[in-house]
Symmetry: C2
Subunit: 329 residues, 2 copies
């Protein structure tokens, strides 16, 4: 079991360490890379040898960050993991076999952290690991330089969807203010992080918008993607996953449905709802499940059957909510 440690202990561990290897999580995002790079820069400013390692390549959109990638030129004597909630999140570990097994210190903000490190500093109120480091790095006696500020802003801004997601708190905004004052060029950073849509994303959106249908007085919107369309557009993973929020985001839509055909022909259905209806009610009756606002199920058979089945359940749920509202008023 890991030992929980406070800021003071973390600072003393870092100040007494050298030859420090910083590990990021697989499929790296702006927070793990921004936090890792910021911590690395801070340690280097203290005259220490430090470098960052990740099982996956750094995505092109983060290549502008001044990251020192570990190249084996020193033997790590202290291993820190940033923004990594569990040991399986290190990825395939081919390039870090011995290090991921013995993590000295983990700095993280995921409430689900499994406690795999020897010591862990966890703050699950922080919107990002970078928010936590915005306080910690000055406590190490290191001034936040414009480079460090850019790394930390990247972590906070990406983990909060640019201050839009529900994890954003007053402390998150205060951290952003401090980073701007420390020299983070937010004009440039926001353009890099948020004004850039991948070709895959554009292809996915186009495909989705072309299939958009409305039902029940525009209270329900549905997008439908066949296996062939998905293959032809070359869209996968996150881009495809992101589409599931699109139908519900249209004005007046209470229930958003995304039907994706699987390789075996069956349809995977994502259900997203507003405040008036329960997505789980809809999905559960078709053998699925999930949360009140986001749920899913799978239906085999052809598209007409799948649509018919799910739309029937949507109608029942819309009717239920309408009668509840009528009873209340």
């Amino acid at each position: 079991m890991t030992q929980s440690v406070d800021h003071e202990t973390v600072v003393s561990r870092l100040l007494s360490a050298d030859e420090i290897l910083i590990l990021c999580h697989k499929n790296p995002d702006g927070d793990t890379i921004g936090s890792g790079t910021a911590l690395c820069l801070a340690l280097q400013k203290l005259g220490k040898t430090a470098a960052v390692l990740c099982s996956d390549p750094i995505p092109a959109m983060y290549a502008f960050l001044p990251i020192t990638v570990f190249d084996g030129s020193f033997t790590p004597h202290f291993v820190v993991a940033v923004d990594v909630a569990g040991i399986q999140l290190f990825g395939d570990r081919n390039n870090m076999p011995q290090y991921a097994e013995h993590v000295d210190l983990c700095i993280d903000h995921h409430g689900s952290n499994s406690g795999y490190a020897y010591e862990t500093m966890l703050d699950d109120h922080a919107a990002a690991t970078a928010e936590l480091l915005t306080a910690l790095i000055p406590e190490m006696g290191v001034e936040i330089t414009p480079d460090i500020a850019a790394c930390l802003y990247t972590g906070i801004a990406t983990d909060t969807g640019c201050f839009r997601f529900t994890n954003t708190t007053a402390a998150t905004h205060r951290a952003a203010a401090a980073l701007i004052e420390a020299g983070a060029d937010v004009e440039n950073l926001n353009e890099r992080l948020f004004e850039c849509r991948s070709h895959a994303r554009m292809a996915a959106e186009r495909m989705a918008l072309e299939s958009l249908e409305f039902y029940y007085d525009n209270r329900c919107a549905l997008i439908c993607l066949t296996w062939d369309q998905i293959q032809a557009a070359g869209v996968a993973g996150a881009e495809l996953e992101d589409l599931t929020s699109l139908p519900r985001s249209i004005e007046g839509v209470e229930v958003g449905l995304t039907l994706r055909q699987q390789k075996d022909g069956s349809y995977k259905i994502s259900v997203r709802t507003g405040h008036d209806t329960n997505a789980c009610n809809i999905a559960r009756r078709l053998g699925g499940g999930g949360h009140p606002r986001a749920a899913g199920c799978e239906i085999s058979g052809n598209l007409d059957n799948a649509k018919h089945a799910i739309l029937d359940e949507v109608k029942k749920e819309l009717d239920r909510s309408a009668s509840l509202n009528a009873a209340e008023s």
Copy 2:
């Protein structure tokens, strides 16, 4: 000519006034409505009679704000304009003929403010009038209630594109932090303000994505909308205008072009560029003009001619920038 006044003077004017009419600008946005409503609530908390007036209806997306619309039930003795940079921005003034001519006090953040009011408090470093009021309302001796905080957060978040636009400063984030602590429910507010896309917006995006073409190794992206398509989609104004940023926002695209056919058949072309090329160079050679990153021109003749002409100029500008970069390295 208007008199510039500081916070202290504004506070003393507002505290000694009663029967206060607050004017917003036409085509009201989140800042003018949020600021007007927040100021109105603050004055009402001081026991004063106050109400808000706008020449246009309040858009549905802001209807949740607790706005007291002026209904003629009192005779205004003090007129305040919020977020209104010039007298023409009051709109047609049919419902406020006498008031807009004699504005006692203007509170604004537009550097272009024309000075139409008797006294003006202007801070053009503020990202929004609401940012300015976040400081001013406590100076009036009024605590920021959750309702007032929701109004001010709405103003700040909408004027900054949720903290993404270049007007966002450290002070903007600090104001947001204070409003969250005062009870602004940002989860709910961000969902209302930013997770909702209009049907017109969806139609416009679909139309744009269907016409998307790439040129010059994907360095140039072009969308093209014919007059008939625009009419069929029922898209106009802001939704159409917003599309002009789409092609440039695609990864790797340096020059984004939007061609919109006018009623007379000619093509209005918007040119957006990245850091390497100059949009104005491209537009100027076709009789247009603008800024380094955003410019425009108009070409008569058929679509093929218009495309050919603008793409030729794009090629010249891309070549010029490539040869500059080669010379530098």
